[in-house]
C-alpha cells in the first residue's frame, strides 16, 4: 500500500509545481497587465516622483511583462514577496502572522461542519419515506441558500450583540499575549497549559467557525445522504440483510464505510469553497487572518499583498487536495495496489 501512497504523493507534487507557477503567472498578469496604470496600485498615495522612479526600476515596469514576471519570480523564490504599501511591512511577514489564524479557523470550521453533517446526513437518511424527511429537506435547501457571510452576520447579531454569549471580534481579548509558537492558539495554549487563555481563544473561534461550518454543512449532508440512499440498494446490503444483520449494524458497519469515500471526495473538491469563505467571515468578525488581510488590501489597492495572499491560498488549497487524495487511496481498497 505504501508504494501507491508514495506514488500518489509524488504525482501530486510533480503536478503541483507547474500549477503554482502557472497560477502565479495568471494572477501576475491579471494584476499587472490589465489595470490601466499598475504603478498607481503599487505606490502609496503620497509617493514622490523619486519613489515612483525607484519602484519602476525595481519592478521593471518599463520592460516586458515576461521580464517583470521573472523578476517577481526570482524575488519570490528567495523569500521576498515585496512590501505592503499600506502597512509598509514585508508581505511575507504579514502572511506568516495571519496564515496560522486562518488555518486554525478553517480546520475548526471543518470539524464543526462534520459534527453537524454526519448526524444530519444519517438523520435525513433514517427519516426517508416520512414527513420528517420533507421538512429536513426544505431545511437543507434553506441552509444552502445562505452563504457563510450571511451566517456570519446572523451569528454576530444574534449570539454576539443581542445575546452577548460569545465574543465576536479578534482572536483573543485585547491585552492577552499571543505566544510565539505554532501560531495555532489552541495548540500553543494547550502546550503551555494556560487554560484561561485557551478558553478565551476557543470562545473567539466559535462564532466565525460556526459561520463557515453552517455554510459548508448542507453540501456534506447532501452527499452523505444520497450516497447512503444509493448503497441501501446495493446488492451486498441486501445480502447482509439476508444474513440476519440488523439495519443499524448494516448502516454503521457497512454503508457508512462506503459513504466515506464520496464524502471525502466532496470535501476535497469543495474545500476551496470553505476556505474562500474566510474572506468575508474574517472581515465581519475582525478576525486577523489572510482573508481579512486580502479584503483590506483590496480596499487599499495594495497590490503586493493581494498577490501574496492569492499565492498562499493557492498553495494551501493544493496541499489540502494532496492530503485528500492520499486519504482517498488509503480508504479505497481498489486503489491500493497501483
Amino acid at each position: 500500500m505504501f508504494k501507491s501512497l508514495i506514488n500518489v504523493a509524488a504525482r501530486r507534487l510533480a503536478g503541483a509545481i507547474p500549477t503554482v507557477l502557472l497560477l502565479s503567472m495568471v494572477v501576475f498578469i491579471v494584476l499587472r497587465a490589465l489595470p490601466a496604470d499598475p504603478l498607481a496600485l503599487l505606490l502609496p498615495p503620497n509617493a514622490t516622483q523619486a519613489d515612483a522612479e525607484a519602484v519602476r526600476k525595481a519592478l521593471g515596469l518599463d520592460r516586458s511583462i515576461v521580464i517583470q514576471y521573472l523578476i517577481w519570480l526570482r524575488d519570490a523564490l528567495s523569500g521576498d514577496l515585496g512590501n505592503s504599501i499600506a502597512f509598509r511591512e514585508p508581505v511575507t511577514r504579514l502572511l506568516a502572522n495571519s496564515l496560522p489564524a486562518t488555518l486554525e479557523l478553517s480546520f475548526v470550521g471543518l470539524g464543526l461542519a462534520l459534527l453537524i453533517s454526519i448526524p444530519g446526513g444519517l438523520l435525513l437518511y433514517g427519516a426517508r419515506g416520512t414527513i420528517l424527511e420533507n421538512i429536513l429537506d426544505v431545511l437543507v435547501v434553506c441552509m444552502l441558500s445562505i452563504p457563510s457571510f450571511l451566517w456570519a452576520i446572523f451569528l454576530l447579531l444574534g449570539f454576539g450583540v443581542m445575546l452577548g454569549w460569545l465574543p465576536f471580534s479578534g482572536r483573543v481579548e485585547s491585552g492577552i499575549v499571543i505566544p510565539d509558537g505554532t501560531g495555532f492558539l489552541l495548540i500553543d495554549y494547550l502546550v503551555t497549559m494556560q487554560w484561561g487563555y485557551w478558553q478565551n481563544a476557543l470562545s473567539h473561534l466559535i462564532l466565525p467557525a460556526m459561520a463557515l461550518a453552517l455554510g459548508f454543512s448542507p453540501l456534506v449532508i447532501r452527499v452523505l445522504r444520497s450516497s447512503l440512499l444509493e448503497s441501501s440498494d446495493d446488492h451486498y446490503v441486501t445480502v447482509a440483510r439476508q444474513r440476519g444483520l440488523s439495519e443499524r449494524q448494516i448502516i454503521l458497519a457497512h454503508m457508512l464505510r462506503n459513504s466515506v469515500l464520496p464524502t471525502i471526495t466532496l470535501i476535497g473538491a469543495q474545500f476551496g469553497f470553505l476556505f474562500g469563505g474566510t474572506l468575508l467571515v474574517e472581515t465581519i468578525f475582525s478576525y486577523p487572518g489572510i482573508g481579512n488581510l486580502m479584503v483590506q488590501a483590496v480596499r487599499n489597492h495594495d497590490l503586493p499583498v493581494i498577490q501574496g495572499v492569492a499565492l498562499v491560498f493557492c498553495v494551501t488549497t493544493l496541499a489540502i487536495n494532496t492530503v485528500v487524495d492520499i486519504l482517498y487511496v488509503v480508504l479505497n481498497p481498489k486503489l491500493r495496489r497501483a
Binding site: 441558500s145 452563504p147 452576520i153 476551496g272 476556505f275 474562500g276 483590496v298
Partner: protein, 304 residues
C-alpha cells in the same frame, strides 16, 4: 409471430415516455418547482417593473429622514415602508432595484458559464485522449484557487462594473460546469448506442448534438438554475468588498456592507436586504432541486 392479445395491453409499463411534454407535466406536480418558480417569477417581475413598483427613487437622499425605522415600528412612516439608510435613501426601493442588478448578473453570468463549461465538457468527455487531458488540467489549475479569491483578484484587475462582474463569474464558475457535465458526458459516451451511431456512419458533431447533448440536457438545466443563485451570491460578496457596481447603483451586497456600520442602531437596514437575497436564492435553489428530481428518472419515487 402475431399474437391474439393486443400487444399494447401486454406492453403496459408504469413509466410514460420521456418526451419533453411529459417531463414538464411531471415537473409541475412537484411542489418545489411550483414554489421555486413562483419566487423566481416574482423576483423577475420586481426587477422588470422596478420603476413602477418602487415607492421612491432609490438614489434620492432625504437627509432629514436618515436611519428611519420601517413603517410598522415606532417612528416609521408610510413614505418609507422599510425605512431609510444612513443617507436617507428608501430601503424598499433600493431592494427592488437591487433585484435588477442581482438577476441580470445572475442570469447572464449563468448563461456564459453554461455555454463555456458545457462546450468544453462535451469536447473533453467525448473525445477523451489528449484533448481531455489538456482541458482537465486547465480545470484543475483553475480550481486550485478558491473561487472567491479568484473572482476578487480578477475584479481588481478588471476594475469595477457590472460587465466585469459577469465576466469574472463566468471565468470562475465555468470550471464547475465543466467538471460535472464532463463526468456525465463520459458515462453517456461509453454507452453502446453511441458506438452504434458511429457504425451507422454518424459524424462526431452529429453524435454530440443528437445523441449526447439530449442525455445531459436535464443536468445542464439544473446546473444553470442553481448557477443563477450562485451568481447572485457572488455579486453580493463582490459588492460587499466594494468591487462590484459603482457606488450609485443599488445592489444588495452594497446595502449590506454599508448597513453593517450601523448594525447596532439600525439592524433592519442589514436584515432586510439579507432577507431579499435569501428568498431569491432560495427560489432558484428550490426550482433547480425540483427540476433535478423530476428530470432524472433515477431519483423519482420508486413504485416497487
Amino acid at each position: 409471430m402475431s399474437s391474439s392479445i393486443p400487444s399494447s395491453a401486454a406492453l403496459k409499463r408504469e413509466r410514460p415516455p420521456s418526451a419533453t411534454a411529459e417531463a414538464l407535466r411531471q415537473a409541475i406536480r412537484s411542489p418545489r418547482v411550483v414554489i421555486g418558480g413562483a419566487i423566481v417569477l416574482a423576483m423577475v417581475i420586481c426587477a422588470v417593473f422596478a420603476p413602477q413598483i418602487a415607492p421612491n427613487d432609490p438614489a434620492e437622499q432625504d437627509l432629514l429622514n436618515m436611519l428611519l425605522p420601517p413603517m410598522w415600528a415606532e417612528g416609521g412612516s408610510i413614505d418609507y415602508p422599510f425605512g431609510t439608510d444612513s443617507l436617507g435613501r428608501c430601503i424598499l426601493s433600493q431592494m427592488i432595484f437591487g433585484a435588477r442588478v442581482a438577476l441580470f448578473v445572475g442570469f447572464v453570468a449563468a448563461i456564459g458559464a453554461t455555454l463555456l463549461g458545457t462546450t468544453l465538457a462535451l469536447i473533453s468527455g467525448y473525445f477523451g485522449g489528449w484533448i481531455d487531458r489538456v482541458i482537465s488540467h486547465l480545470v484543475d489549475l483553475w480550481m486550485s484557487l478558491p473561487p472567491v479569491v479568484l473572482s476578487v483578484t480578477l475584479m481588481v484587475g478588471f476594475g469595477t462594473g457590472v460587465g466585469n462582474v459577469i465576466l469574472s463569474i463566468v471565468l470562475v464558475d465555468w470550471t464547475r460546469f465543466c467538471r460535472v457535465v464532463r463526468s456525465e458526458v463520459m458515462v453517456v459516451a461509453r454507452k453502446d448506442f453511441v458506438s452504434a451511431a458511429k457504425l451507422l456512419g454518424f459524424g462526431n458533431v452529429r453524435i454530440i448534438l443528437r445523441e449526447i447533448l439530449p442525455s445531459v440536457a436535464p443536468l445542464i438545466i439544473t446546473l444553470f438554475t442553481l448557477q443563477v443563485g450562485i451568481g447572485i451570491i457572488v455579486e453580493a460578496i463582490l459588492s460587499f468588498v466594494g468591487l462590484s457596481v459603482p457606488a450609485g447603483v443599488p445592489a444588495w451586497g452594497q446595502m449590506i456592507a454599508q448597513a453593517r456600520n450601523y448594525m447596532y442602531q439600525a439592524p433592519w437596514g442589514i436584515i432586510l436586504p439579507i432577507i431579499a437575497m435569501f428568498i431569491t436564492v432560495l427560489g432558484f435553489n428550490l426550482l433547480g432541486e425540483g427540476l433535478r428530481v423530476t428530470l432524472d428518472p433515477r431519483l423519482r419515487k420508486r413504485n416497487i
